[in-house]
Amino acid sequence: MEGAKANTGGLSGWLEERLGLSAIREFLAHKTVPVHSGTMWYYFGGITLFLFVIQVLTGILLLLYYRPTTTEAYESVQFIVTRVQFGWLVRSIHSWSANLMIFTAMVHMFSVVFLRSYRRPREVTWLSGIALLCLALGFGFSGYLLPWNTISYFATKVGTDMAASLPGIGPALARFLRGGEDVGGATLTRFFGFHVAVLPGLTTVLLLVHLILVQKQGISSPPWVERKFQAQGGKAPQMPFFPNFFLREMMAWYAALAVLGSLAAIFPWELGEKADPFASAPAGIRPEWYFLAPFYTLKLIPSHVAFLEGELLGLLGFGLLAVFWILLPFWATNRQGMERTRLVTGAGVALLAYLATFSLLGYYK
């Protein structure tokens, strides 16, 4: 270690030797982002990341006071909201940010579909992104129960009931999720564990994979932009990631922060009534908005279709749909390497239309 002093002096030199920052600086200097009419959609991945960071920070803060037992969960959240200084803000931001994050993640996913960024060699990036979305939904489902209020209690009951109707593994899966035969204290403990330990761990790993892949492969530009400039014999225009794109991303983050703060301050997230497992389910039980479309679809399916149970049929349908969607990069090009442009666009528009209409129907009916 003594000999190291011989190197360039000063703090930057000291740090450089130990951390090798110049490599990162070098990498950033060469990283570029394509410029075209759809560049704005590139910000949504970053916004989702930003909201995730906010979730981690506010989540850690909430952990200072939250208690995951049936007797104390509701009271501790009430305590946070009423007694702890700025507790209302932290809790409201955590809830609002969770919802915005799912929303921006979905925007990000659909922009990837419509800008065709899933193409070779980015299939694994797509898969990791889908997995991250599933994890985000898992965060939403497990976090919804934690305040232990009436609506979340019954929504969890309904949700785990659906899992139970899966063929074969259903009952075992429901038992695993609930930590017993019914939703209760064991479920709360479990969901808390999932929410603050299991899911964050998995998400961190997958997020790293996702980000490394994006850095490794660069940001994709849509095929029509590439074709246009290839025909002209040049390359599609790019902007430097740092500072040009980064400053714009910062603006997007600040805008997200402003929206988040306003929502939290003007529409504080409600706490509702404490859950009573012996009470009958109140009218109008519905899950969070991002589960509304499948929830409403299942409600529409008759209880028996041919020899199959309606719910089972619905779940099988969703399963097939999910597999179809997950495998999108693999069927988007045919054997000859030609892109099935219309099919992908059609599928994307159809899914978007289905989610939008059924969510609205589920909300208003």
Binding site: Q78, W88, N244, L247, M250, Y254, G261, A265, I266, E270
Partner: protein, 414 residues
């Protein structure tokens, strides 16, 4: 000659009852009303039959034999004879015990002490006997909502006679009790809230021993439910004064059948009941006005706090604790209203003050919540300003970076 068609019919009828009952069989075939109604009668369910009241032989197929005087056939029962007939079984503890061990057997005894019973004994057949209230041939248990003596139907049943001016003419008693009662707070509790414990006629007048409460016992009657008020009243200066005057306690101020929801308007103003005896400038009149003022003041303060709390709650603030405190304050108002019956200003003022203190506290809580809301919005405004400034800075910085290098710096733009 008559016997044959009856017998023929007998064969045509499906025999449902386990025991033979020729009375019901024939009279049902004749479609006579009593026989048709009897299937709904509680006595029928317990195995009793026509013959148990009307005499005769239910086993005889022959009409003459079945209704022969020799078998004790009595035919139509005279009105005046009804109570004794019912009492034959209902006053027999040994018999009643076989069917309803908890049922009382003193109804007839009580009936004899009632105004109805005394009149019937003196030969007035127009007064109510058992079947006038309990119905006849389709007698149901009191707890059956279709019984005419079920709490919800009792007032109408009494009113059948007592609201009939022609019927009541010779007794020279008023006929407006039913009309009044239907305006009362008691009827509202019974009919609208469905509180079957709320009083109807029999709750105050008794049922079988129906008598108007004596002047001296009115307070005791009301005190059956309004125990606290009775307690305060009986210790108050009004009790001996009313007793000396021959005034009937509670009724003096509240009325009897048409008891309305009391309000502070009974104490002060032109509807004051106190003014019946006390002039407005007497010490008592002044005390009444003072008590009314306290109650009104507390009421107004509570309404005020309610409004502030509602406003805070509707703008998303958490005020559930203050709301609970507010409930307690509302209970104090109820207690203060009860305390009026001590007819001492201090009794009311103590409660009114604690209620006012609570109302002030909840009001403050509500106002603080509203202040907190404004503070939050201001904080948000400041934060938004900082965010906007940063965004503007970012935007300008971007413009500075991306400005085409050949363009003259800052020319005509800022």
């Amino acid at each position: 000659m008559i016997r044959r068609p009856a017998l023929l019919l007998l064969f045509l009828l499906p025999v449902a009852a386990p025991a033979k009952d020729s009375c019901v069989e024939c009279h049902t075939a004749m479609e006579s009303a009593p026989a048709l109604k009897f299937s709904k009668d509680v006595h029928q369910r317990r195995g009793f039959s026509c013959a148990d009241c009307h005499g005769g032989d239910r086993n005889a197929d022959d009409q003459d034999a079945a209704m022969s005087k020799a078998k004790g056939f009595r035919g139509k029962i005279a009105r005046a004879a009804v109570p004794q007939l019912c009492a034959h079984c209902h006053s027999d503890a040994n018999l009643m015990h076989k069917y309803m061990p908890q049922q009382r057997v003193d109804q007839y005894e009580l009936y004899q002490t009632s105004v109805h019973g005394k009149r019937i004994a003196s030969g007035d057949g127009a007064v109510a006997n058992c079947v006038d209230c309990h119905s006849v041939h389709d007698i149901r248990e009191v707890k059956d909502p279709q019984s005419p003596v079920h709490p919800l139907r009792l007032p109408e049943t009494c009113a059948r006679c007592h609201a009939d001016a022609a019927h009541m003419a010779k007794y020279k008693i008023p006929t407006n009790q039913f009309e009044e009662y239907r305006k009362s707070v008691h009827w509202a509790a019974l009919a609208q809230r469905g509180d079957l414990s709320a009083p109807s006629c029999a709750s105050c007048h008794g049922n079988h021993g129906a008598t108007p409460p004596q002047v001296s016992s009115v307070a005791a009657v009301c005190g059956n439910c309004h125990a606290l008020v009775e307690d305060l009243y009986s210790k108050s200066p009004h009790q001996p004064a009313f007793a000396a005057m021959g005034a009937a306690g509670c009724v003096t101020c509240h009325g009897n059948h048409g008891v309305r929801l009391p309000s502070s308007a009974m104490l002060a103003g032109d509807k004051s009941v106190c003014a019946q005896c006390h002039t407005a400038d007497s010490p008592e009149g002044k005390a009444a006005v003072e008590m009314a003022g306290m109650i009104n003041g507390l009421n107004a303060a509570l309404k005020n706090s309610d409004q502030v709390l509602r406003q805070a709650a509707s703008s998303g603030m958490e005020v559930s604790e203050a709301m609970l405190r507010q409930q307690e304050a509302h209970a104090t108002l109820v207690k203060a209203r009860v305390a009026v019956h001590a007819f001492r200003v201090t009794a009311v003022s103590q409660l009114a003050q604690s209620g006012l203190a609570a109302a002030a506290e909840t009001r403050r809580a509500g106002e603080n919540a509203l202040k907190e809301r404004d503070y939050r919005r201001m904080g948000l405004g400041v934060a938004l300003l900082a965010i906007l400034a940063t965004m503007a800075g970012l935007w300008l910085a971007l413009r500075a970076i991306e400005r085409p290098p050949q363009a003259p710096a800052g020319a005509g733009r800022r």
